[in-house]
């Protein structure tokens, strides 16, 4: 094949183009940012609840590909910390069934990623669109947030709501005055370059 290529000018151009496209399309580790200590809090407290129905997870894994805007989160359900031990037991045993569904995953894209300059300090309003898998159910999620570049580190933050029913999480009528139908989710992660 190579001998015939040498003689064919057209073929040479096509292969050159192919190589350029190939190189342009690959991303290397320098374009990827990650953290294993991201923070996610959820709050499902109603106005009539005597206690806060909320928890915080400080060991969230997040990976961001700055070349494509791909963003993925992995959240270990048992990593959520509660003020009340009994609330944590019920959360895992009755609501999220964490033994059956140990992790929540989000796979999505930052829509306006190509407009962001990841190599310069700056702050941008972003929209992330993707799929959230929790309690065995997958649903489309779209959320607005902020992305800031600060000396090579990327901070992302976002606040959005999820309907518990969408993910098969049942709230019995008996506690419906304490546990809200939708939970407010807050994401705060500081990502650094994924070195090789």
């Amino acid at each position: 094949m190579l001998t015939t290529i040498k003689k064919d000018k057209h073929m040479k151009k096509i292969i050159l183009l192919a190589i350029v496209l190939f190189l342009g399309a690959s991303t290397n580790a320098q374009d990827k940012y990650f953290t294993k200590n991201g923070t996610i809090t959820f709050d499902a407290t109603t106005s009539t609840s005597p206690e806060k129905v909320a928890a915080i997870n400080k060991s969230v894994t997040c990976v961001l590909d700055s070349k494509t805007g791909n963003t993925q989160f992995s959240v270990l359900m048992k990593g959520f910390e509660f003020e009340q031990a009994l609330m944590r037991e019920h959360f895992h045993e009755n609501y999220l069934e964490s033994d059956k569904f140990p992790k929540a995953l989000f796979k999505g894209q930052i829509i306006n990623s190509s407009q962001l300059n990841y190599s310069k300090n700056g702050s941008y309003d972003v929209t992330v669109k993707g799929q959230l898998t929790m309690h065995g159910q997958t649903k489309d999620v779209e959320a607005n947030g902020k992305l800031s570049v600060n000396d090579g580190k990327i901070s992302i933050s976002s606040k959005f709501a999820v309907l518990l029913n969408d993910y098969g999480i049942e709230v019995p009528r008996l506690v419906s005055d304490k546990v809200a139908k939708s939970a407010s989710i807050k994401v705060d992660c500081i990502l650094q370059v994924l070195g090789n």
Partner: protein, 302 residues
Amino acid sequence: MKKIRDTIKVLALLLLIWSKVSAQEEDLLKLVAEDKPQKELVKNAFKATRVINSQSMEFLSPGTMDFIILHRFGQISEGMSNFFGLDQASMRMALDFGLRDNLMVGIGRSTYKKEVDGFIKYAPIRQSTGMNSFPVTIAIAAGTTLNTLPWSDPLRQNYFTSRMAYYSQLIIGRKFSDKFSLQISPTMVHQNLVASSYMSNDAFAAGFGGRYKVSKRMALTWDYSYLLYGVDMDLYNNPLSIGVDIETGGHVFQLHFSNSTGMNERAFLTETTGSWDKTEIRFGFNLSRMFQIKKKKESPKE
């Protein structure tokens, strides 16, 4: 002919590029090393720290206080005149405290013989999955009861220590599945003073307790003790209780039928007079309410 061959080659090359590009969108998370599988304690084999009467293999989370009211009505065999036992009542009030994940203490007082009791429960080994997994929870419980009734014969030489009894037991339990748990508890009870000189001061029993979860918040429970030695079987019977656990928010309701009146180890193991054969069983309930008295330092921010 040559043009076609070339086109095919180009298409093949472009296909290679495209597959490399699309592969980038796949699992980014795989690039970040997964944490090693950790040891995980198995929890909630039973919904409460007592099966019905006996200590269960479960513990309270540290910083938790459990206020429990145990109630036993009269015997159903007493019929309509006593409203099938509901006109009579025997009660125990208790406060349990969770000190560590595997250590708890509790105090209580029963109206039956006006007995005050206290216990400590410790699990040196707990059932766990993951790294270094262990198939069962092994716990030790020990307690004391103090009879506070006035002496029946004040003129006799009465000793304070005669009011006391002690029990110690080993609890070996396993959560077989999300729905089914089973535990056995060999127990020893020592009473400083017994009713008659022919009776033994020491009694040995083997407890069998279990639960079968019927729904997310409801379970069937049974609590049986087989008396091995030291209890006069002409007067007394093996205690057997069967019931239902219902969990709602911060409360656990345990509703059951039992042939024992006593609600501490000394009382229900050595003094169960009722017999299931003669429907000398009583309806009763345990009501448990948990309070978090020592909150964790960090809490979710606003």
